[in-house]
């Protein structure tokens, strides 16, 4: 059995001291071990931004792609080899701005992978511009008078878009975050996990203390039922999205791969590529 240490490598992250992403990295390593994975059977596909570097900081296969495109790359990897566990990850700019189209369609499509967004409500790597997750009025280098755009709610969007696993967590709560990632990995379908991962350098509003003060754990809400889309939406609206835990899970809906006609039961990456003469001749005849 691999332990979380097996998922560590010798690369030193280039994140700022105190960045929330360190805990997300640790939680992924722990969840991978808890889920019984081995490093070579895990592929972490990440986007661009501070958090996008995470695929280089975990001892597993990993691909650090282009801005906003971790999800289509991750879906391609999973389609190629269904035996791999695929985690896609990136920041709120990556997933909810430039890559939003992919996020919505990955939720609809429901290919079995886990998408972890490190949400710091700011663009960090480009040194402090507004994000779709920034609050209205939030002052940044690109919004010196305060953001005049509405904040995006990825959790409400996910629930209404047909996502089958929607969860939110906070980077300091390592135990809860690890458990949620493990549940996401074990979920048969697409899982979206939004993690509040504060930027200690550029976001002086949504700080660790701010989240501690404002977040409500769903486990503290009596009788919360994550199988109900209606309860999920009501709860998100009541709490202005500031909840942690598994918000919604549909355990019944089959994954994309279970629904694809004729999809190979063994990994496609193992398949013999040649069609064979007989099959080829048949295909040729169809054009005669």
């Amino acid at each position: 059995m691999a332990t979380f240490k097996d998922f560590r490598n010798n690369v030193k992250p280039n994140w700022c001291p105190g960045c929330g992403d360190f805990s997300v990295q640790a939680a992924i390593q722990r969840a991978a071990a808890n889920a019984g994975l081995t490093p070579e059977n895990l592929a972490v596909i990440s986007g661009i931004g501070c958090s996008g570097r995470i695929s280089g900081y975990i001892n597993s296969y990993g691909l650090h792609g282009i801005h906003g495109r971790s999800l289509p790359i991750a879906q391609g990897v999973k389609m190629a080899n269904k035996d791999l566990t695929v985690i896609a990850s990136g920041g709120d700019g990556d997933g909810f701005a430039i890559g939003m189209g992919h996020t919505i369609h990955a939720m609809r499509r429901n290919i079995d992978l886990t998408y972890i967004v490190m949400d710091n409500q700011i663009y960090g790597l480009t040194k402090g511009q507004t994000s779709p997750r920034s609050a209205a009025g939030f002052k940044t280098k690109s919004t010196p008078l305060g953001s005049i755009e509405q904040t995006l709610s990825p959790m409400q969007l996910a629930v209404t878009t047909g996502a089958t696993f929607v969860a939110q967590s906070f980077s300091t709560d390592l135990k809860d975050l690890t458990a949620i990632i493990e549940a996401g990995i074990n979920h048969k379908g697409f899982s979206l996990i939004n993690v509040f991962s504060p930027c200690v350098t550029y976001n002086k509003v949504n700080t660790y203390d701010w989240f501690k003060e404002n977040l409500t754990k769903l486990s503290d809400i009596e009788g919360y039922d994550p199988s109900s889309r209606k309860i999920a939406m009501n709860t998100l609206m009541q709490h202005d999205d500031l909840v942690t835990g598994i918000i919604y899970q549909d355990k019944e809906r089959p994954s994309y791969q279970q629904l694809v006609e004729g999809y190979s039961e063994t990994p496609l990456s193992d398949a013999e590529l040649r069609l064979g003469e007989e099959a080829f001749d048949q295909l040729v005849k169809e054009f005669m």
Partner: protein
């Protein structure tokens, strides 16, 4: 007796023009004739003039003919727009329903035939196409029974009555026309064909079949004209080999999903046209930088922007060669026929894996959608080469060091291990990286990795099969005509005519457009008195590429056409005569 004939059916889009052409040509193909079809259509579902021009011959034909022998018209617009193409002994047969008017300035024979009326009497006006097919048979003296198996194939599932009714429609069209012609035979009768079985397919079919034969298991694509037939063919076939087509949310997703799937160890690709390729440019760079194989088909159409989405053009060449920021090794190949489309697509997947580079298969609308006769494809010529791919069996490393996925090798190609393989863990990133894939900004590493990537293709032009197709029998030609993609056929035909007029012509068709096979083409340029590059664009893109690589900026001239329609032989003959 004619050696070949050109037949055109036209009407409003959505009226069954396409299926009329389809039925006519399928039957002739089965008799052993060679066919070459070109569809003129508009970017809308219903309405707008559309026509399908089909050339029939006992010999191989691979260009749209200059003129026309038979024009079948379902509306007046078809007559007005197309009659000028008709031969002096050509024939117009028009549906009497719209009270067709014969243009004054034509020698062509003119018959109003009650296509719709006959069809309606038989049960449904939809069968007017069949009546028109029957009338055509009367003109070219073809026994209508040859249509029986085609009609059975198309309508068989609707029941025997439908088959019989359609055959009856063909027969009545034939009888009506024979009677009208009053026993006179036209001089449009075709000599019998050889009866050999040949394929009849559009270029997109050939590319799709090539991809399937190459072992593709996932196609990620977004619909676009004129590429969609590739995904539509494969969604029927890939499930039979365990794979599938995913229709993505956009072309960025299509290209990046294909990259992910190739990284995951399978052969995956996408196909699109100019607008889609524009969206894929960043992904192409990712493939080049991470050395992840990627195959993309670009079926060129009229640009820029939305341009002329249903018309012929060859204006993506520069974008395909140079598109993406920064510098990567990239391969662009340009098949000229459906047959080449098949074999070159397989080769594209081999090159992508052997050299770990993005490969663009350049097609154009005329090649992608034109339906032509193809001699049976040869499976024994198919080989699959995956290069330095490692799928298992790596020894355990002593420390937890990363696998050298980007090892500096002599040929520039490094071992490629796929996820899931023990002891092969490494990082992949579009950031400049060291041999294990870890980000590195060191100048020495940057230069070493850039040089490694760029030297991968140093020898490609020597190993690519027929980088330049040559029909060059003259040691010293008066004229060298150069083209790429679908213009090959029309250039060959123009060449025959020029030769008949005493002009010594060589022809070179560039099949590997990048990296450019300079050594192959330079001697031909040097030994020709005049050089003309024939291409469907406004700026002479191929000519520029040739000048960049081979020189001779004064000698190399252009013959250009960018009005949306393909070249016909006379365009090239006339322009050539002006140049020499």
């Amino acid at each position: 007796m004619a050696e070949q004939l050109s037949w055109k059916v036209g009407g409003q889009q959505g009226e069954g023009i396409e299926s009329t052409g389809e039925i006519f040509s399928m039957a002739l193909n089965r008799l052993g004739y060679y066919l070459y079809g070109y569809r003129h259509f508009s970017s809308r579902i219903k309405g707008g003039h559309t026509n399908n021009k089909i050339r029939v011959s006992t010999k191989r034909v691979s260009a749209v003919a200059d003129d026309l022998d038979i024009l079948v018209a379902f509306d007046q617009e078809t007559i007005d727009v197309n009659y000028h193409e008709l031969h002096h002994n050509g024939i117009i047969i028009a549906d009497s329903k719209f009270n067709p008017v014969k243009p004054e300035d034509t020698d062509a024979a003119f018959y109003a035939v009650p296509f719709t009326e006959i069809a309606t009497e038989l049960g449904t006006s939809l069968m007017k196409n069949m009546v028109a097919v029957g009338a055509t048979c009367a003109i070219i003296n073809l026994d209508v029974s040859v249509f029986l198996n085609v009609v059975e194939e198309i309508f068989g599932r609707k029941g025997e009555t439908v088959v019989q009714k359609n055959m009856e429609a063909i027969q009545q069209g034939y009888d009506y026309m024979k009677e009208k012609m009053g026993g006179a035979s036209s001089d449009l009768e075709l000599p019998p064909a050889d009866g050999k079985k040949r394929m009849f397919m559009i270029g997109n079919d050939a590319i799709a079949l090539g991809a399937l034969t190459a072992g593709v298991r996932l196609m990620a694509a977004y619909p676009i004209t004129p590429a969609s037939e590739i995904m539509e063919y494969l969604i029927k076939k890939l499930p039979k080999v365990g794979g599938t087509v995913i229709q993505t949310e956009d072309e960025i997703a299509a290209a990046t999903m294909a990259i992910g799937a190739n990284y995951g160890g399978i052969r995956s690709f996408t196909a699109s046209a100019g607008p889609g390729l524009s969206l894929m440019m960043e992904a192409i760079g990712l493939s080049g930088m991470t050395e992840t194989p990627l195959v993309i088909v670009d079926t060129q159409r009229g640009g820029p922007s939305t341009g002329l989405p249903t018309k012929q053009e060859q204006s993506d060449l520069m974008a395909m060669i140079y598109g993406t920021h920064g510098e990567i090794p990239k391969v662009v190949i340009a098949p000229g026929t459906a047959e080449e489309g098949f074999y070159d697509t397989i080769e594209a997947f081999n090159i992508a894996e052997e050299y770990q580079v993005p490969v663009i298969i350049l097609s154009d609308l005329q090649l992608s959608l034109g339906k032509h006769t193809v001699d049976p494809l040869d499976y024994s010529k198919v080989n699959i080469r995956r290069g330095k791919l490692i799928k298992e069996g790596l020894p355990e490393s002593e420390n937890k060091g990363y696998f050298k996925r980007y090892e500096l090798t002599e040929d520039g190609v490094s071992p490629r291990v796929i996820p899931g393989v023990a002891n092969g863990i490494h990082h992949v990133t579009g950031v400049e990286h060291d041999e294990t894939g870890k980000p590195s900004e060191s100048p020495a590493n940057r230069k070493a990795q850039m040089d490694k990537r760029m030297r991968k293709l140093d020898n490609l032009h020597n190993v690519f099969p027929n980088a330049v197709y040559k029909n060059a029998k003259h040691d010293e030609a008066d004229l060298l005509l150069i083209g790429f993609n679908s213009t090959g056929g029309v250039i060959e035909e123009a060449m025959e005519r020029l030769e008949a007029d005493g002009v010594k012509v060589n022809h070179a068709r560039v099949r590997l457009v990048h990296p450019f096979p300079t050594d192959e083409i330079l001697p031909l340029i040097e030994s020709a008195k005049h050089v003309a590059v024939v291409e469907n664009n406004a700026t002479g893109q191929l000519a520029s590429i040739i000048k960049m690589n081979a020189g001779y900026p004064q000698k190399i001239k252009s013959i250009l056409k960018y009005d949306g329609n393909p070249f016909q032989p006379h365009h090239i003959v006339d322009s050539s005569k002006e140049l020499i």
